[in-house]
Every structure is written in structure tokens, then in C-alpha cells.
Symmetry: C2
Subunit: 136 residues, 2 copies
DNA sequence: TTGATTCACGTACAAGCGTACGTGTAGACT
DNA sequence: AGTCTACACGTACGCTTGTACGTGAATCAA
């Protein structure tokens, strides 16, 4: 029952939609082709499919059809990343985190944020009684 | 030139192949269906396609065909994650890291490793002269 | 030796995907 | 009014994916 999956191409367009908010095909196309050569019609098709799959809505504003994202990015991101972690890492998230930290471009600001995130996580762990059982 | 992409299903099988090393279809199937209900023939097809795409090799050992991964996991992981980061996060890796740390199951051991990784990264940054230009 | 089991291998087939063209029409320009 | 332009919408098409069946050969059990 959960909506059908998004393909890679569809995801790309969905992300742009989230980023720029409700927009006409042209706007989405312009934002997208900034980064990648892609035909107007192709974007249009993706938007149509996005709507067909329930990830976007659209209304006619005069003659122009305006598309808007329907699902929150969080949900889609969670599902997608979960799937990736399952298939490529057998369900264990750490290898992916490791990979990202080691191989991807993380700048100085990111490092401080990371440090913060980690300490935060540490705290949360300490005063959550649910984890008591973990301490065998 | 670069080998064609792996689909999700193919990736799943590729991961198993990396994990258990060179193996017959049956072994791969058994390892896989531990986690997911999947037909023997389906696994077989995936292995064939993996070979067709250049990600695996196979040889007949008697009557049994043994498949072995060809590419190193690293390369495939890098490409796949890169693609995901591009499409879903517009090329910025941090949101994904954040997501993983916040939403996925990271246990106590992982936290210490993370702390280590981050400090290591910090060091590397400090004595790498290449980054000098970054300091405007 | 005969029947059952186990494979490899070819084949299938519908749905999904990436990419795009063509046609018709509604405003914009002249 | 006539032409240009931009857009919606339908349609297309070859490729990939997910999933699997059937056939024939080889091996094992009796």
C-alpha cells in the first residue's frame, strides 16, 4: 500500500521540488538543468509520474500547471536510505557512515557539527532508561 | 566505458557475494534467502546479469558454476553513494551523515568509533597543505 | 538400471525507466 | 487578424528489472 518507490531520476526531480517549492515545469527544469543536461519534456514526464505515484500534486494556475511536493522529504529519505543500507550493507548503517566520513567532502564546519552530533547522541544514550538492558 | 550500474536487486546479490566469497548459486541463494524470500532462479539470473555487466566472473567447477565478485566493494559503494548523494541531497554529503546518525541505529561502540573518526579527520585536515587555499 | 534430485542455461514477460517527439491550443507580439 | 511561442498532454520506444518457468543433462539414491 505504501506508495511505489521512486526511481533515481524521479528522486532528483522530487528533490528539486522540495528545494524550490511549488513550481511550474519550466522552473523545475531550469533548476535541474543547472546541474545536469536534461530535456524539458523529460522533466515534465518525471513530474507527471511523481504525481501518478502520489508524491506530488498539481493544479492549473491559468494555463500553467503548478506542481507541489506532497510527501515530506524525511519520509522518502528514510525509506531510500534504509533500502540502501539493507541492500548494500546488509542492514548495518555504520559502514555507510564510515564511508561518508572518510571518502566524501566534509569541511571544517561539518566537522564541528559532527562532533556536536556525536556528543548529543552520547548524552541521549546515557539518560535513556530503555537502553538499560544493553548493559549485560 | 565504466561498467553499467547495478540495480538494487543486483547489489543485494553482489553484497552477498562479497561477504561469502566465491560460491555456487545455491550458496548465494541460501545466504540471501536468510534475510529475504527470493527464488533460486531469481538469484541465478542476478548472478548471470552481474557477470554480464562485468561485476563478477564465473567458472565451471565440475558441473557447478562458481561465481566470484570481480570489482572491489569500495568502488561500487563509492559510485552508488555518490549517486545517491547527488540525486537526493544535491551533492552535499552532510545531510546524509546527519540523517544516519540521527535516525539509524548507532550503538555505543559505534559512537566511540565515530568520535575517533572525527578527530582523525580533524587532524588530517590540519596538516594537509593542500587545503591551505581554503582559508580565504 | 531406473527414478528422483539438482543444476545450468535459455527463455519469458510484464512493469518500470529514461528520454523524448508531436499535436493542439492559448496567450503574446506585430 | 495572423504569426510566433510556450505549454499541456498524449504517446512512443527501446532498455532494464524483478521474477520466474521449463528443459535437458548430470548426479545420487535404491
Amino acid at each position: 500500500m505504501g506508495k511505489p518507490n521512486l526511481s533515481k531520476g524521479e528522486m532528483e526531480i522530487a528533490r528539486v521540488l522540495w528545494e524550490i517549492g511549488p513550481a511550474a515545469v519550466r522552473a523545475v527544469h531550469e533548476a535541474t538543468c543547472q546541474q545536469r543536461d536534461i530535456d524539458f519534456s523529460t522533466v515534465q514526464t518525471y513530474l507527471r509520474r511523481l504525481e501518478a505515484k502520489g508524491y506530488a500534486t498539481s493544479t492549473l494556475q491559468g494555463r500553467i500547471r503548478i506542481y507541489a511536493a506532497k510527501e515530506k522529504p524525511q519520509a522518502v529519505i528514510r525509506d531510500t536510505v534504509n533500502d540502501l543500507v539493507t541492500r548494500l550493507f546488509g542492514g548495518n548503517a555504520m559502514p555507510l557512515v564510515r564511508h561518508l566520513i572518510e571518502e566524501q567532502s566534509i569541511d571544517a564546519d561539518d566537522i564541528s557539527e559532527l562532533k556536536q552530533l556525536v556528543s548529543q547522541l552520547e548524552e541521549t544514550r546515557n539518560d535513556s532508561p530503555e537502553d538499560r538492558e544493553t548493559r549485560s
